[in-house]
């Protein structure tokens, strides 16, 4: 199963359980899940930046300056790696508590395996994004919106815009 589907299953399950794990607070649930998933691109970003910058630093600096740059990036990489490991553990616990399969079937004590998994995650998400594959949930969500509801929300947010009482497709009369 793709990571994107696992994320979706977590969100569906949280909704089905009325966000019980968060005392009914949906906003907390979304922020919690996002906080975990954001750690993966954060780690990948450090790794990529390190790969890009290392040849430049070796060419540009020497001695103490070079050591400073390399050590700083190493520390950041370790922090981000630890963050990703923690997030996988948390997402696996969350999935288990929701009766779902583990988010990532990986031994989080194996740092290299975690690094590889983050690479797979980022690659999958990136490819999903650039291939513009239409997300089913988004599609259904858009279908569920009715134009009157959108118009009312817009009217509330932008009161100075004139709205036709007989709503057209957009609810807006310009």
């Amino acid at each position: 199963m793709k990571f994107i589907d696992k994320e979706r299953n977590i969100l569906i399950k949280l909704q089905q359980t009325n966000y019980e794990m968060f005392d009914g607070n949906a906003s907390d649930a979304f922020d919690f899940v996002a906080a975990q998933l954001e750690k993966f691109p954060a780690y990948a970003n450090v790794v990529i930046r390190e790969q890009i910058m290392q040849p430049i630093w070796y060419a540009r600096f020497e001695g103490e300056d070079l050591r400073y740059h390399i050590q700083s990036m190493d520390e950041r990489r370790k922090m981000a790696h630890d963050g990703a490991i923690k997030s996988i553990d948390i997402l696996n616990r969350l999935s288990k508590n929701l009766g779902l399969e583990p988010f990532a079937d990986v031994d989080t004590k194996d740092r290299h395996a975690v690094a590889e998994l983050v690479g797979q995650y980022v690659s999958e998400v990136y490819n999903n994004g650039i291939n513009k594959s239409f997300d089913d949930m988004t599609y259904q969500k858009e279908k569920e919106y009715d134009t009157k509801a959108i118009s009312k929300r817009l009217q509330k947010a932008v009161p100075e815009v004139h709205f036709d009482q007989n709503y057209d497709n957009t609810g807006l009369t310009l």
């Binding site: 907390d28 922020d31 906080a35 923690k86």
Partner: protein, 114 residues
């Protein structure tokens, strides 16, 4: 050392839910700190597990993004600013000072609660 205080918006650390939260905010950041475990028992036993902690930080307006691993591991995100136009130096310094003041306050709160 400058501090920019946070208000505690909600404190659900002692409720019955599986995942507890402490929500903070000021003019620059909204921060939610989550604890996935028995906070009351762990706190009482002075055994808060850093592995149960996670933090979601939402910058407001132009505040710099923060990555918060735990109270002692906080990064200010400057990735998009590896180089900045000279015209934005003052603004960047101001943003960093704000981030610094907020981090000082946040660390104090995190050490207090966790």
């Amino acid at each position: 050392m400058r501090h920019i205080d946070f208000r505690i918006i909600s404190n659900n650390l002692h409720n019955d839910s599986a995942i507890k939260s402490l929500q903070l905010a000021n003019a620059y950041y909204r921060i939610k700190i989550f604890y996935y475990g028995d906070y009351a028992a762990d706190k009482k036993a002075q055994k808060i597990d850093a592995n149960n902690l996670s933090v979601k930080c939402t910058p407001i307006d132009n505040a710099l993004d923060l990555t918060i691993y735990d109270a002692n591991l906080i990064e200010v995100e400057l990735a998009k600013m590896a180089s900045i136009p000279a015209t934005q130096i003052d603004q960047t310094i101001k943003q960093l000072q704000i981030a610094s003041g907020c981090i000082n306050s946040l660390q104090r709160i995190m050490h207090q609660y966790f």
